[in-house]
Symmetry: D2
Subunit: 342 residues, 4 copies
């Protein structure tokens, strides 16, 4: 049984890690770390875990990682890049759910995140944990940079079209819609019920930090370097992300087949039948990314709709998927959860 530690134990990312790890046959949660809640029982703070979890939150100290095999960072931006170099040990696996290690270029990181970038050495060691594209590297990685929620939905949606030459990479518009839980448990006006309920809000105009992440992997995976127009919107729901992707068609035949084939060996990407467009609710609580496409002959556009649960395939579920691959386990271990509907 491998021992796991979760840093940032009071956030929603940690809660979902706990949900999937609790039933995992080869991993046991050894530490749930939160400085502010040290000594509090996890189930006192999160009563939905009453009788499920007996652990207390613990603080980070010298002994924290003594017998730990896997460390998850479910922390806000800026934490992992400082802590990871200090605790890094040979043979331990690190999975960072934050954006700290996602941007290769230091300048670009500084611009989009407004913080000092991590050291180049650390950055280079990290493998981007999108298994559908980087499975083999993930299997050998020691540090995983877990993808952003929007980036996951956007990349899984657009990569087949760009890499197979179906669309012009130069004029892609991605309109993103997200539930509120993506903002975490930190309180702000944007997550205040009375402000967010019965409301749609466009936010981070042209400046969402997942933009360079999307562009970087379009570039790596397709050899093209397009600028992508990506705009995010807050929707009055807790979970779910939809990316509606608009691209100029270069050829219109067999597009559905190309997508179908592209993902046929990827259990967590479900290409929908022709004419069928996924809704966010249809992946609720699960690790699926569902994709549907519509060829609009009139305007010569391909419209791709890609949905994930932002806390699962967009965060913690994908982290578990990466952990399974890193350890040679079945990729679906503990993740074959059916979406909760309705």
């Amino acid at each position: 049984m491998k021992q796991a530690a979760i840093i940032g134990g009071t956030g929603y990312g940690a809660l979902e890690l706990i949900r999937f790890l609790e039933h995992h046959p080869y991993v046991s949660i050894s530490k749930i770390i939160s400085r502010s809640e040290e000594g509090t029982e996890v189930s006192e703070r999160y009563p939905h875990l009453h009788t499920v979890i007996k652990e207390e939150f613990s603080a980070l100290d010298d002994k924290t990682f003594e017998h730990i095999d896997i460390v998850f960072f479910a922390t806000p931006a800026g934490v992992a890049k400082d802590i990871l170099p200090k605790i890094k040990k040979k043979g331990v696996q690190y999975i960072d759910l934050s954006g700290d290690l996602r941007i290769n270029d230091g300048e670009e990181y500084r611009m989009w995140y407004g913080q000092e970038p991590p050291s180049q050495g650390l950055q280079k060691e990290a493998v981007y944990g999108l298994p559908e594209f980087y499975r083999e590297s993930i299997k050998k990685a020691e540090i995983i940079s877990n993808p952003g929620c929007f980036a996951t939905a956007a990349l899984l949606g657009i990569i087949p079209a760009v890499s197979k030459g179906l669309v012009d990479p130069e004029n892609v518009v991605i309109d993103g819609k997200t539930g509120v839980s993506g903002a975490g448990r930190k309180q702000s006006l944007m997550t205040h019920f009375s402000e967010t309920n019965e409301n749609v809000k466009a936010y981070k105009m042209g400046s969402h930090q997942h933009t360079p992440e999307i562009e970087q992997h379009v570039s790596t995976l397709t050899g093209k370097n397009p600028l992508i127009s990506f705009q995010t919107h807050l929707i009055p729901m807790t979970r779910g992300i939809m990316c509606t992707i608009y691209a100029d068609l270069k050829r219109a035949e067999s597009i559905h087949d190309v997508y179908q084939k592209f993902y046929e060996n990827h259990p967590f990407v479900r290409m929908r039948p022709e004419g069928n467009i996924p809704q966010t609710k249809e992946v609720y609580g699960s690790n699926y990314c569902d994709i549907g496409i519509h060829v609009d002959g009139r305007t010569n556009k391909l419209i791709i709709v890609s949905v994930v649960d932002n806390l699962v395939k967009g965060a913690s579920g994908q982290a578990i998927q990466n952990m399974n691959l890193m350890n040679g386990w079945n990729e679906q271990e503990s993740l074959s959860v059916i979406p909760i509907y309705p």
Copy 2:
């Protein structure tokens, strides 16, 4: 591997049965029956099951039950009582999720359900499937009448207090609050988004059909025959039931201990620590019934708050729990699902 059939396959009850049965080690879903959808793939109607379920809906015919061991009725009121007598076979297990077999007295059934009651013979064979109170009978039953969602929350909340003499059984008020999915997939103004969103509605004034069900089992389990004031309210959410129960205290000491002890061997009832009151979201998607109590010394009332997910412990999860008991399997088989939070 036992073979199961689900009648009423297009409703939400059926969806939740599928969610739990899909991973069950000893049961396989053999037929999902819906007259109106015969021949349609289940995943076409319910795309969240895409790649999960390959079956088609089938109609009910002479061969339907040939190799079936367990039959679930996830049908509206009035269907099971007519079909069950026609198909009943020795050795097959029947679990009715509707209210058809819940009321012992024919007259009372007629009054609250506005329909002809089932035959007395059938009625007498049926065991009320609330495992926390009738576990031993359930183990031997061939027909289970699965409890109503409100009745489950109400009975689990009030029975310890009445049976242990903590409160006066004569003056109990139960204020029930439910999400909209309890009304099923059938469309009506009450389930129309624009009418229900941003709204609380009191409905079925003094006439909810779970009232006699609650009274009947208070009577059976405690020997008292009180009339219970039970009023239901529709809340703008999909899942979740809360019963807030007000009762006159007869003694105030050790009440929490009594409850704690009452449920200590019941894995799906989670008595909360003193001072902790459950919320509906904290059981979302799970088979738990969570209970919290507050002793109001000022007014000499005991306030009991009991929550369930109406589609799980209030319907399909409890049906699976009953099935597990009837077959001598671990009561928690396939049901140890952690609530999805947030």
Copy 3:
């Protein structure tokens, strides 16, 4: 034109005061006071007022009240009781929307509010601003203590039954349900979207500060001194309060007529026809309190359902109604707004 000042200008109470005062024929908003936002344009903080309001927030200083005729306190508990004595001037009208002046007894205030009570002198001057019961005193008042949102719905619901001897005052249960905006704009976990959406939460178990307010006016208005069991619940919606009131019937005839007659000259209380029960959405954005009753012969209970918009009849609308009365204007001036439906 009378000049009004609003203290506590950034809260939801202030927003609704602005909505009603903007079109008022005899009052002009002269100052909107917020220390933290001094110098900011109101419409910058609240863009829904863009082009409607040109004012800036101002701080409180010596000149603030120089030409002011009416002062509204839309402040949290504890502010008005400290400021009002310092600024009080002859001929100026004060309307306090907070709970500071609602509790006659200092000890009781201390217990329920956990703060030092206001001075007895100030307390005695304040008239409780529930026009349906205290209209004549309000007309002559200089200081109004504006009722609590729950207290408004509860008192308008129960007073006819108790004062006309229809029910036993000794065994009343009030189950209250409220939207989230009642908690104001201050952020907390209870108002955090992801925690509150798809959830019902019972809160302030047996300890809601509107309890003594309700009991005090039941006592004043009916001569009875019952203890009232009042429990509140948070509902995933922005606006709306419902009180479901359970009381033991003493007589069952003509109850509807009694209510109808009781409110026939009160334009903002709408007694519903027999068999018709109000929903919160049906008063959305308006100053109405709608009431429906159900006589449950079986259990000998009267069930009263009373609904208000917590920010209007439950706060700012009622404050304007009081202001109209204090100044001899038509009680409905600027308030005859039709509920927004759906």
Copy 4:
């Protein structure tokens, strides 16, 4: 006092017409027509109008229009085009809120609406009721074709940019998001609470009937004939539409000024200050269309965000605005309603 009749009296469009007409100084509602509800009191079907409206629904017969000056069609597609020719009288004003008269070209109407087009004669008489662009024609019109909700937000958002040469008209993408009330009161799975809550759904892929309406008026107003990529999404809220419009910049200077100037004499279009992007909630219940823009220098895109309340500026409010203009009244008469926030 002019007399108005509303055909299609049970829908949400009719409810909002009633809300604005009730307080109108020059118009009185004379008939509210619904075949299915003939003889029922309006306030029985819609209790939020209890004590506000005494009228009954009436059926359409020979005498219906005897003393009527203004007729509103708040009917589903296909009704007005059949009835209007039969009842048309000199001197009566007709305002059709449905899409029947919006498409000039019969073939195009047939394609997008799947119905037979109205007669060419009728079609030519109808003036498109978007006052910000066609005010002078509206003043002289006898038949108004009231714009679609999405078309209103889209056209008010994009026309300044295209007509002033700020963007390339050939590559415009409009991502539309709407609340559920746009689908009316007719029940369907798409409006079923449990299916729509906690969900985003892309619908009418490339085939929304407001597409040709948008293209037609871009063409009329700018002389360009671009094909527009327009895709709609259903959001879990009752009211509100947002159009996020992506266009390729041709010049980046003074864009905000151009917009500001374009709408300076239009009281219901509120151009937001630079850097300020409107949210749907900020126009809730009001007749405003709020517009914000963001120049994305990086991708050379102009992003325009335009929001309306779909039932007000997107339907009934705009119909009243048109009525005011047709009769020479103040355009804002009865419409100067402040958005309800929160």
